[in-house]
């Protein structure tokens, strides 16, 4: 009995020249979960486990350098809300994200309209140019701008002195100017993304709508407000979502260009969190900060996505 079965299966294996996977018959019900499982398991480990562990840690005093941990309940959150440094970095984050994304949106829509107004010879040239800043390694972007704005050999200072006849601003050593500097670099890197997204939206507007407006003799501003803008509203929404997502994770450029300084002027939440966790080694406090950051980020981006009906 056993022997016959063994032989038959041997024959089966020997006969077939097809790869093993093709002969294994798995029902769709099993297969769909088999296909999903590895990805879901990895992402759950990387996203859900640290979130839950983070909540647990945030209720403790949990020094990263020692093995002592002490339950403090909501103590970490209370300490954060009362600390000036946290409130300062929350404010810096709001200013950095709000001003940079706002300006990028205005410049980006303007440049997208400009791109569409070009002849078809020039469009690909500009599209290629616009692609470059947004794929630059952020650390290299920071390096470029440190080089450009350097006090001794910085070529931007040289241009300002020689072409404009003014004295150059203190790029990274005055609090207000340092914030403006990092916002400027962010605008350099990420305006192109908005340009490309909005431009994709502009291309989908049927030409006939413009022809109708032209026949009616509508002024340009009216055409923009009543034809262009409603048609690209959805794309602008997408651009805002992706810019906000990216802005809430900004770290590299500020870290390299101002290091959060001078003082704590450009210390956005990410920089503050890094310092609490890996400089001060206060694991519990850092976990609490991480939970706050994560909940706020997800709430804002999900809110916009639901508002847009993107799902």
């Amino acid at each position: 009995m056993l022997g016959a079965k063994y032989v038959r299966s041997r024959v089966d294996w020997g006969d077939s020249r097809e790869p093993l996977l093709n002969r294994v018959d798995i029902s769709d019900r099993t297969l769909k979960w088999l296909f999903l499982l590895p990805s879901v398991a990895i992402l759950a480990f990387l996203a859900i486990y640290p979130f839950i562990q983070g909540i647990w840690m945030s209720f403790h005093e949990w020094p990263l350098a020692a093995d002592t941990r002490m339950w403090v309940g909501l103590g970490n959150y209370e300490a954060l809300v009362e600390s000036d440094r946290f409130l300062g970095s929350a404010r810096a984050t709001v200013i950095f994200t709000g001003v940079s994304v706002g300006l990028e949106l205005i410049i980006g829509v303007a440049l997208a309209l400009y791109l569409r107004s070009l002849s078809s010879n020039w469009r690909p040239v500009f599209r290629t140019i616009f692609i470059l800043p947004m794929v630059m390694t952020p650390i290299a972007t920071g390096l470029m701008w440190r080089l450009l704005l350097n006090g001794q050999i910085g070529v931007v200072n040289w241009m300002i002195i020689n072409f404009l006849g003014m004295s150059p601003p203190a790029w990274t050593s005055s609090p207000m100017v340092a914030m403006a500097t990092v916002i400027m670099i962010d605008i350099w890197q990420w305006t192109p993304l908005i340009v490309m997204i909005v431009y994709a939206g502009l291309l989908s507007i049927p030409e006939t709508m413009y022809e109708a407006a032209r026949v009616d003799g509508a002024p340009r501003l009216a055409v923009f407000r009543h034809i262009t803008l409603p048609q690209i509203k959805y794309m602008i929404g997408i651009a805002v979502v992706f810019r906000l997502m990216r802005s809430f994770r900004s770290f590299d450029i500020i870290w390299l260009v101002t290091n959060g300084g001078p003082g704590t002027a450009t210390e956005i939440l990410n920089i503050y969190l890094y310092r609490v966790a890996f400089v001060n080694l206060q694991g519990g406090q850092a976990a609490a900060l991480g939970i706050i950051l994560l909940v706020v980020t997800i709430a804002i981006t999900m809110g916009i996505i639901r508002g847009l009906g993107m799902q």
């Binding site: 840690m57 470029m144 770290f251 950051l293």
Partner: protein, 293 residues
Amino acid sequence: MSTRNLPDIGSTVAFATENPRETLATAIKYGAGVVVAIWMLFPIYWMLTVSIQPQEVIMNWPPKFLFFTPVLEHYVALFTEQSFGRYLLNSLIVAVGAVSISVIIGVPAAYSLSRMDVYGGHHIGFWILSTRMIPPLSIMVPLFIFFSDVGLDRSLVGLTIVHFLITLPMIIWIVKGFIDELPRSLEESAMVDGCNRIQAFREIVVPLVMPAIAAAAFISFIFSWNNFLLALVLTGGDTRTAPLVIQSSMGYLSINWGMLGAAGTVTVLPVVLISLALRNHLVEGLTMGAVKQ
């Protein structure tokens, strides 16, 4: 003379002869374009320039924009004295590892979400997308502790695992978007002809979405390659990646700009080449398939 040339000539003539106001407007328009192009390109050009200038020229005042004798000394020093090649290799190992494993497990997941009516598939898909929204630092503290406990901190294996957070959601979403657009009838007729589901997936669907898989793989490669923060938390010493080495050689006192320019140029070079090759798919990738071009 063929009539096809007429419109071109017409527009050139208009530029030269029509009323001066219109000429001025055209000039302003193209002038503004040139200004924008310089604004976008000059920082990149300047990093490249400094990397091939001799040290005296870099320190020279006024700076030289165009005419100088290019040298390769900074690149030679970078790869011999600083052994930057090893850190580039680290970056490459992590990015290639994360991308290739993400393709292997992410493409079947995309197929399953797109085609196989998974219970709650819509929510699972959206949850996968939302993992991409998480600010990485907010979950790095528990992950750092976990990796230290199992001895994977300061190792490329640990960094590769965390990089799945960058590459996997991206590949699943982009590829899913493309499978959604394929007509179901292709697989169905193959399955009527006796293929099973796995064969239909491997021999019909995968070859058809191969261009999308390649684009998704290269775009997520760019993001993995560019990443700095995860490496800052999880690596050190010999396991540092290229951006981390650039950052740690930028002290605030004496900076070797020539060599750093060379390091920056070498680091962005693969990214620039990939994105120029993929320029028509890049925005689609950056928005995870939300914007089609």
